[in-house]
Symmetry: C2
Subunit: 360 residues, 2 copies
Amino acid sequence: MYARLAALVSERTAIPTTERDIERILTAIPASADLWQTVDLAKCPFNQVVETVRVLAAEGLADVGETSIALTERGRALAAERNAVPRPSLRCTGCAGRGVSDEQLAEARRRFEAIEGGRPQPIETYDQAYVTTDTVFARLAAFADRGDLAGRDLIVLGDDDLMGVAAALTGLPRRVVVVEIDERLNDFIRQVAAAERLPLEVQTVDLRNPLPPSLAGSFHTFFTDPPDTLAGLELFIARGLEALAGAGCAGYFGVTVIESSFRNWRALQARLTGYYRVAITDIIRDFSTYENWGYLVGSVRDDLAPLRRAPQTNWYRSSLYRIETFEDSVLAAAPVDEATLYVGAESLLHTKRDSDVASS
Amino acid sequence: MYARLAALVSERTAIPTTERDIERILTAIPASADLWQTVDLAKCPFNQVVETVRVLAAEGLADVGETSIALTERGRALAAERNAVPRPSLRCTGCAGRGVSDEQLAEARRRFEAIEGGRPQPIETYDQAYVTTDTVFARLAAFADRGDLAGRDLIVLGDDDLMGVAAALTGLPRRVVVVEIDERLNDFIRQVAAAERLPLEVQTVDLRNPLPPSLAGSFHTFFTDPPDTLAGLELFIARGLEALAGAGCAGYFGVTVIESSFRNWRALQARLTGYYRVAITDIIRDFSTYENWGYLVGSVRDDLAPLRRAPQTNWYRSSLYRIETFEDSVLAAAPVDEATLYVGAESLLHTKRDSDVASS
């Protein structure tokens, strides 16, 4: 049964699906009544989870209600066959599993919280969705703990999270530069920088193009939160590498499983270590939590009733990577196919478009 | 000055050393009076740190005392030139930065603490040094949190940490097998398994040889703590991969920076993703802390006075990797050169032998 389910889901999603993926999704279903949380718990791409639930329902292994899904008795028996049990959480409650504390950044956080209410809201055009304030300051705590913030020059590539503002508020970096395409954000960040007298510059840059020469090769640290396709990840990270000043510099970025399977991670990792010749020094699981964004329902597939209802709690998470450069690292982007930048088989937006076509 | 220091250290250690490495070591020196802690803080290999301190001392940039080292005024000025400041710690104090809690494993931990006092002590022959009890249970918490312990079959390759005993005590895995070359450990583990009636088997195996066919392809999860040379890491990890039952299985292992530079990590990562075709899903920094072991002083270089004094607190740490397999992963070891298994330019044991030769 497992092999047949895996084959069906592989075929329908174009995402290679193993029997273990089916196991994981089976055990994630009873762990939450909320399909959005199930996606997060399964540690499989959204489209793979949704398609698996559809297949399980068609086989009488799961019941899909208006707002939730559940395994049938036969579904539970199938999980038991493999001794597959729900994944418990043993994350540290003090740091939500991130391993860092932002206590030392409390004053900056207080000021940030007074500012962030005025931020522009996320728009689909640029794949935006911003992270929680806990996440912003945990990221800065991680940068500082690894020696990449105090006294360093930081560039943020794409910044709907307002990482640049928060970093500058800590008073730790020597220089902070934000490059971003969205003028709404850039205006907001410029206003904040002026009002708060922050060492924070903003430039309007389309990251599909190389960085302005004045920024290339100038920074100790970059942060970016790329689109999760392989092309998107590579392009944003490579732009970050362009910004770095040689060996011993660091880059941070987020990668989800929700839109980028571990198989995709492998391809990215092979590319980073093999082509760009950087080392991966940290991968901190589920480090970043995103605030639910307004355009979600309607922009993604809705071929299960619970997907037509907005998530009740935050569900979208990414892991935080840190990479480090050497003298022989490649600090320039290889050419990228723009058509594959935002949408692939594992993207939230993918199947919506497919199913639109299929149903038309 | 930085470039000259980096060139000198590179030449003397055969470890490529960048100006940023010099910066890191410079800023780690004032952060602790204890040279062993300085090594941990610098996030550079032991031999690179020690050689840098020697070079700094020769240049009048550092003072080496009987028990500690310090920067001179000129040394501090050199650090200030680059705006290089000591790395603060922003790790979560609740979980020591590991991101997991072992609260749910408290009963197993209580039983483990009653047992571990009788363990055999580490010997140099097998590169042994065991981890703290906090580390043992944090590892199990991480395995459980990632869905790799409850109901799963676990193999531990090399086990002076007694991970197999601890895992079996949790009652979570279906099966636990330890393979280990040291008969002292195997006798101890067998006695414990019998006395505690644990689902725990032990086999005497030399990991330089392939796994016994009865164990190959049989497990969901492996754990190993390899020697830190590239050959040692690859061999132990590949033996772990041999033990796994195909796609969607997980492997865990520790890698230090103390004996394996980030440059070495890059080579390992390229090999894992490129040749073995697995994904790296987690790298948790400084996850494992090792109890100081009896044979340290005398087995490593002692060409600075503080190295002739045993560390006063635990200083040796490794990061925890998790990898995951796919249908196309290579679950068999490539041939390995045994001569490079335990000792390379970045090994603790390396320069002792070199300096013996140099001073004879």
